[in-house]
């Protein structure tokens, strides 16, 4: 393992990195929302604003070679995996410079280099896929772990439980991260789940589950460390239910009439993951307002550059229509 698990104590530098990574996702997504409004991004576009602590905290628990797979609310995961914001934004605008050369869009992006396996548009489909990546790790006798993210809505899909069963039966190195943002599109957890404590959904498969404050990056990291270690040591899967919240609608086309403005405002003002960390850093004297402003400024520049790139990158060559349907077989 080229990247060792971090020590329990988190350094100031690490905290600042969390701050920076969460802020990058926040600013990137805000900008994506603007570009959508301007018609530069089309189709479905699911923003991650509010949920940043989940992916940033979890990413700190894994190392080189560990895999990540998620559903269609995937921009944050890609940025957290270290994928280039330029390539992500250019995919959102459907340009040649995008990660899928414009052929995937918001919901379908991948990076083999960064071990990010998508970006899947069918609710729950990534769960057996992530379990299969874990299967390949065990088969190849590596000690790699696959983080498999899905939402509260996906926890009602049958294939999720088919995967749970096999993962537990075969002790596969997979961590299931349920991002419970309280709403499956417009249907609240209370209205869609008979058992609303989703971390219990693995009980009948003998998969241990933990409920985690997904709005606190430190708590996410702490739980993530345990779960990743559990999976890596050959004990099989673990479920982390991240209690989180999305500030925006399900997708850009969702007016979010199913919840009250006050609910959003309350979480935003009392539980925001970025503001929370900011307060901690300042209170502990680990950073000043000015330090954090400087970070904010840097990030704005990164995001602005990605927007420029995404607008300047040309549309894919018409020849691209016909490429990547099949791989040319060699030596068969």
């Amino acid at each position: 393992m080229s990247k060792s698990p971090r020590e329990a104590k988190i350094t100031t530098d690490q905290k600042l990195k969390f701050y920076k990574d969460m802020l990058l996702i926040r600013r990137f997504e805000e900008k994506a929302g603007q570009l959508y409004g301007r018609g530069l991004i089309a189709g479905f576009c699911h923003l991650y604003i509010g949920q940043e602590a989940v992916v940033v905290g979890m990413q700190d628990c894994i190392g080189d070679g560990d895999q990540v797979v998620t559903g269609y609310r995937d921009h944050g995961h890609m940025l957290a995996c270290g994928m280039d914001p330029d390539g992500v934004m250019a995919e959102l605008t459907g340009r040649e410079g995008g990660y899928s050369r414009g052929k995937g869009g918001s919901m379908h992006m991948f990076s083999r280099e960064k071990n990010f396996f998508g970006g899947h548009g069918i609710v729950g489909a990534q769960v057996p896929i992530g379990t299969g990546l874990a299967f390949s790790n065990k088969y190849k006798e590596t000690d790699r772990v696959c983080l498999t993210y899905f939402g509260d809505g996906a926890t009602n899909q049958g294939q999720v439980y088919e995967a749970f069963n096999m993962a537990s039966l075969w002790k596969l190195p997979v961590v299931y991260v349920i991002e419970n943002n309280m709403y499956a599109m417009g249907t609240s957890v209370e209205r869609h789940a008979s058992e609303t404590e989703l971390f219990k959904r693995g009980i009948s498969f003998e998969i241990e589950g933990m409920e985690v404050d997904g709005m606190d990056v430190m708590k996410v990291r702490e739980a993530g460390m345990k779960a990743v270690e559990h999976a890596r040591s050959g004990k099989g899967p673990m479920i982390l239910e991240m209690k989180t919240y999305r500030y925006r609608g399900h997708s850009m086309s969702d007016p979010a009439k199913y919840r009250k403005r006050e609910e959003v405002d309350d979480i935003r003002s009392h539980h925001d993951p970025i503001e929370g960390l900011k307060k901690q850093l300042i209170a502990a004297g680990e950073a000043s307002e000015d330090d954090l402003k400087a970070i904010d400024k840097d990030i704005k520049a990164v995001v602005a550059k990605s927007v420029d790139f995404a607008q300047e990158s040309p549309l894919p060559d018409p020849k691209e229509l016909w490429t990547d349907v099949l791989i040319e077989a060699e030596g068969v």
Binding site: K103, G104, H108, V127, P128, I129, F135, S136, D324
Partner: protein, 465 residues
């Protein structure tokens, strides 16, 4: 009143088997549930239990007898109070299994085990346009079942990343015994019994393929793969494109497809057209054992997802397979099974056998039929079909599936695009009736296409020759 004990069927498709062992002898008394004999096919061994109480009066079929027809009397049982010595064997053996309404069109032969001549003529199977067979090659008689197993075993020996998973593939040795022996050779790491969870293990296979393994996912039948079709199409077939070429998915989905025998609509369906519709997949449907082996080996090596459609009713059929070191065939090449000049018969999978049988009958009627075995449905070798039609000027497309939006529709459209001026008659299509497959023997026979349908269609398009 004495009771006849008959040869039982082990499966819906079994017509005969070997009576391997008697566990009772004449004069023994038996109660209901006692094991009295063991019978076997090349797939399985099963115990025969007594149904009635009484004394074994006569054993009519000796242990070790092969090819004992299902429903033939194998022993006589004297009931209580009856003198066993006075029991006589029935004067004539009862007829074979239910064959349905005699007036209906003949039911296609349903063969499970090796039976000479029962599945129609065995044409000359020395591949005519597979240049890979070197001069002087010898051929080995092999069942389709074993050819598929050999293909998997050879590829698993060759490449550590190849593994097979599915329901009952390991300890049970395969529901249709296609994976027989693989567990012993490769162990349970590479021959993986899954729970009954098609959607889950198809998706898991796709993930494993993204993780650079080469899974062979066996569906007990393709009927059950409908549970998994989202993963096959949305995940396996489309991800390469959606990722701009990054996410290759080298995986084989294989298993029996098409009509079985008397199992009703949910267990009998031809998915050729369904999968062939989807870009990003390759779809293969072989007829004989040489193609089954050569194409499965190619499918396993292929860097793309391949749907490999086998036919349950062909598993027990024996064909010649070239006895060469590494028999691999290219995917996407049709094969001219029989040359002819008057009409082109296009078929795939089990329909090829019927087309060859039809060609034989047509020859007797003075019509020379060319038989093309498509072998691969995506890519589709339209060149071979078009060239043939240019020569014969007539076309009959034969498929086991439904006509509506079917394989034949695609072939006819292609021929009209590319060889319209060569056609001397409107192309014809032979296919399953546009209904879910019925259970009743006569209705099932009426629903499924067979030799007679092909002969009729070929004669219709050949009028005036």
């Amino acid at each position: 009143m004495s009771v006849e004990i008959m040869m039982p069927a082990l499966s819906p498709t079994m017509e005969e088997g070997t009576l391997s062992k008697w566990l009772v002898k004449e004069g023994d008394t038996v109660s209901s549930g006692d094991v009295i004999a063991e019978i076997e096919t090349d797939k399985a061994t099963m115990e025969v239990e007594a149904v009635d109480e009484g004394t074994i009066a006569k054993i009519l079929v000796e242990a070790g007898t092969e090819n004992v027809k299902v429903n033939s009397v194998i022993a006589m049982l004297a009931e209580e109070g009856e003198d066993a010595a006075s029991v006589e064997a029935p004067s004539s053996q009862p007829a074979e299994t239910i064959s349905g309404d005699e007036d209906a069109e003949a039911a296609p032969e349903v063969e499970d085990d090796v039976a000479e001549g029962a599945a129609g003529p065995k044409p000359d199977f020395k591949p005519s346009n597979d240049p890979e067979v070197p001069e002087g090659t010898t051929f080995k008689e092999t069942t389709i079942r074993d050819a598929l197993r050999d293909a998997m075993a050879e590829e698993m020996r060759r490449d550590e990343s190849v593994f097979v998973m599915g329901e009952e593939v390991a300890q049970y040795q395969g529901a249709y015994k296609v994976t027989r022996g693989l567990l012993d050779e490769f162990g349970d790491k590479r021959v993986v019994d899954t729970p009954i969870t098609e959607h889950g293990f198809a998706g898991l296979g796709v993930g494993a393929a993204f993780g650079k393994l080469k899974p062979i996912v066996e569906f007990m039948t393709f009927n059950f793969a409908m549970q998994a079709i989202d993963q096959i199409i949305n995940s396996a077939a489309k991800t390469l494109y959606m990722s701009g070429g990054q996410m290759g998915c080298s995986i084989v989905f294989r298993g029996p497809n098409g009509a079985a025998s008397r199992v009703g609509a949910q267990h009998s369906q031809d998915y050729s057209a369904w999968y062939a519709h989807v870009p990003g997949l390759k779809v293969v449907a072989p007829y004989d054992a040489a193609d089954a082996k050569g194409l499965l080996k190619a499918a396993i090596r292929d860097p793309n997802p391949v749907v490999f459609l086998e036919h349950e009713l062909l598993y027990g059929e024996t064909f010649d397979v070239p006895d060469v070191e590494d028999w691999v065939l290219p995917i996407g090449k049709a094969k001219v099974r029989r040359e002819g000049t008057d009409v082109t018969l296009v078929a795939h999978s089990r329909m090829v056998g019927f087309a060859l049988e039809a060609a034989e009958q047509l020859a007797e009627a003075g019509i020379s039929a060319e038989v093309i075995d498509l072998r691969s449905l995506r890519p589709l070798d339209t060149d071979t079909v078009v060239e043939s039609v240019k020569k014969t000027n007539r076309l009959v497309c034969c498929e086991e599936g439904w006509r509506y939006m079917g394989v034949g529709a695609e072939i006819v459209a292609t021929v009209i695009d590319e060889a319209f001026d060569y056609l001397d008659a409107p192309p014809a299509r032979v296919h399953q009736a546009d209904v879910p497959l019925p259970y009743a023997a006569n209705l099932e026979a009426l629903s499924l296409p067979g030799t007679e349908d092909i002969v009729k269609a070929a004669k219709a398009v050949s009028e005036g020759i």
